[in-house]
Amino acid sequence: MADLPSKVDVAIVGGGPAGLAAATELRRLRAGRVLVIEREAEAGGVPRHCGHSPYGLREFGRPMLGPGYARALVARAEAAGAQLATGVSVTALSDGPRLTVTSEAGTGEIAARLVLLTTGIRETTRAGRMIGGTKPGGVLTTGGLQGLVYGAGLRPFRRPVILGTELVAFSAILTCRHAGIRPVAMVEPGARITARHPAGLLPRLLGIPLHLGTELAAIEGRERVEAVVLRSGGAERRLAADGVIVTGRFRPEATLSREGGLTYDPATGGPEVDEFGRTSDPAIFAAGNLLRPVETAGWCWAEGRAVARAMARALAGELPPPAARRVARAGALAWVVPQRIAGGGSPALGTLQVRAARAASGRLSLSVDGHETAARALRALPERRMLLPLPAGTGLPEVRLVAAP
């Protein structure tokens, strides 16, 4: 652990867009010694493997591909004077705060005045979805597929089924195209495509049959996938395929924060934070997709930068003390972030972010101590961003989505 400092001002766990943006901003604000700890061999996060989406408009003023965007974020953080330690994993988070780290050189400890967790997100796997059938090779998440295709130059299958229709599923289609893989079907349990228009046109353009209202009931095959069983309207049918791409249903990568004893929000799957990105331990902050499933790289970048500003204030002793004022959630809402409001102004998370538990047309409202302070009618879909102003004052806030009858 010779090249790693034992003590820093800010340790950032995770070198994706949120962590790199925060590192850059903290250095700009002269926050002292800032260390970004990245477990992969290269920092940059998820965009490294996305060779096909527009990135960087807000951050760099021009459209970029994922890998170039990731490199630019890294270069910017390094130019700002942040130290990047790659190939280093954080295995435990303890009081202090202290981080237990491990790398090729073995294990070590790093003490920090403040810690920022930006550990990002992962897709729910075949196991997490508890899909039935056998367990042959050739069942991958989008991330796993991209690791094999872009990372290793391999083609794990030729005629897979794609499960899910979130935006990432269309990224899986593009990855397949890149590798000469021809998906035989796209399967969605819901009644409609989850991703926003126009991504939904992609399967039709590429001639991939789309099966809405259809469950992937089972996978067949011993060594490799041979077929899948699709269930729709009570009927089952078998479809020959040699692979399955299980996409989306993102979950925050929250194991470290959870094992570290930070208060966990089962609704988001991440740690609870206040509007400064501060977790239940006031020396530990969180930003980016660890806070909730799932936002764009640009959103995470902006959030990392904003939380970094709050952390600079915390280092200077200028942040309002933590408060236990919780944002209540009612109606058809899946989650709300931030979960707690400390008050005192200049928040890092400038809005209340909520997401619908299911497709619903209705009224989204915010009230404080029973008095409505904001409301609007909307048509809510799961996985779509919905924002409300942060509640002011010192009363108890509640956000509610009431479906129209």
């Binding site: 477990r39 992969e40 061999a41 190939g87 994993s89 295995t91 491990t102 790398s103 090729e104 050189a105 073995g106 294990t107 992962r122 897709e123 796997t125 075949r126 196991a127 997490g128 508890m130 899909i131 039935g132 059938g133 056998t134 367990k135 090779g137 991958l140 998440t141 991330g143 796993g144 597929l145 690791g147 094999l148 872009y150 990372g151 290793a152 130059g153 391999l154 083609r155 794990p156 299958f157 009931a217 089972a218 011993r222 060594e223 490799r224 979950r251 194991t255 959870r258 094992e259 966990y264 089962p266 799957g269």
Partner: protein
Amino acid sequence: MPSEPAPPRGPFDVAIVGGGVVGCALARRFALAGAAVVLMEKAPDILDGASKGNSAILHTGFDAPPGSLEAACIAEGYREYEEIHARLGLPLIRSGALVVAWSDEQEAALPSLMEQARANGVSDVAPLTRDETLALEPNLAPSLRASFRVPREGLIDPWSAPLAYLTQAMAHGAEVLRGCAVQGGTREGDLWRLDTTRGDVSARLVINAAGLYGDLLDEALIGRRDFTIRPRRGQFVVYDKPAAALAGHILLPVPTALTKGIVVCRTAWGNLLVGPTAEEQEDRATAPLDHATLDALRAKGEEILPALAGHDVTAVYAGLRPATEEKDYRIKVHEGGSYVTVGGIRSTGLSAALGIAAHVLRLAEEAGHGWQAPNEVAWPRMRNISVAAPRDHESAGNGGIVCHCEQVTRREIEAALSGPLPARSLAGLKRRTRVTMGRCQGFHCSGPLARMTAGAFDTPMAGNG
């Protein structure tokens, strides 16, 4: 494709058919007794049948039928595991178990179960009231009635243990033939000549440890069978590591005549598992998962530990137990002492394997077999992949972590792909290292792993053609 040594012709002293936990323990026991041993496994790697999916518990045998062969083998197997595990670098997490009653009827059954435990030599069982139980395990649902504690039940690594047994056997000259299916055989004089997919193999003593295929092997070799295997499927749900903090003890239900029931326990790797189901099926080869059953298991787990509701499932799996018409093991000497069937080792094989091996060695000696035991015993040490001891990533020169979820290093993977018994399938590599078995199920490590294993497996992770 890597190749193992050319087909040996023998004659061997002992030919063991089946590379499950029982076959591996037999290979060790006979090799340590001085016999020239060959072990044949039809799959590309060992532990590919019944031994690949179980609850990873070292049982005391407290609930076995008193006086049964099973009870005796578990007791002897437990003692030997306790004695040898440290020298082989194997974990034993002494978690203890609680047998928890959830109804009047179950509560009424506890005293007789404790009596049964004492009859099986497990004399340290202790009754606990509801409050005492909750004080020990505060996350248990408060609707429980009472329990008793079995202090010596523990958690082990069900794959490193048999691998250690077989590695020790190999250190004493045992040969291992993988991808070697026994198709038939004849006795010529005092020698068996086995017809296998890797050529003829001859031996003086043949031991059938073919697990789910035990009855079929008996038929092929001795022309009859004393039992019929009835594969019993057990599905499991595995939760992510933060869930392991919810239960210290192994949480057992009050068993029924048919099954030990649904267990909730930590694993040696720091996860929490719920299972198994007990579902009879015809198929001996595959144990399919069923979404509704897994959902029900999950619900059952949350009934026992309500706080499980907020935890992520990271893995699901199913195993097959080689049950027969009878509960007890089916171990029998045939053909004038030249053939031993070790069959019907259902759900307790992991705990009993070393005891079964010792029992079968005695049977062989009684039948007139005998060898000169080596003067010195080799103790190959397994690389620790459990939470019971420091992991490889904590020491320098590990090559960096490849699988982040299970913290598997490049050095560990390289070691598992080389050595006396290299992994020959992704499944075999997983069992040796835990790679890809964590919460992301290969999201991060599939790419690097495909590159590292290129050329090592019979079925590659991914083609590039």
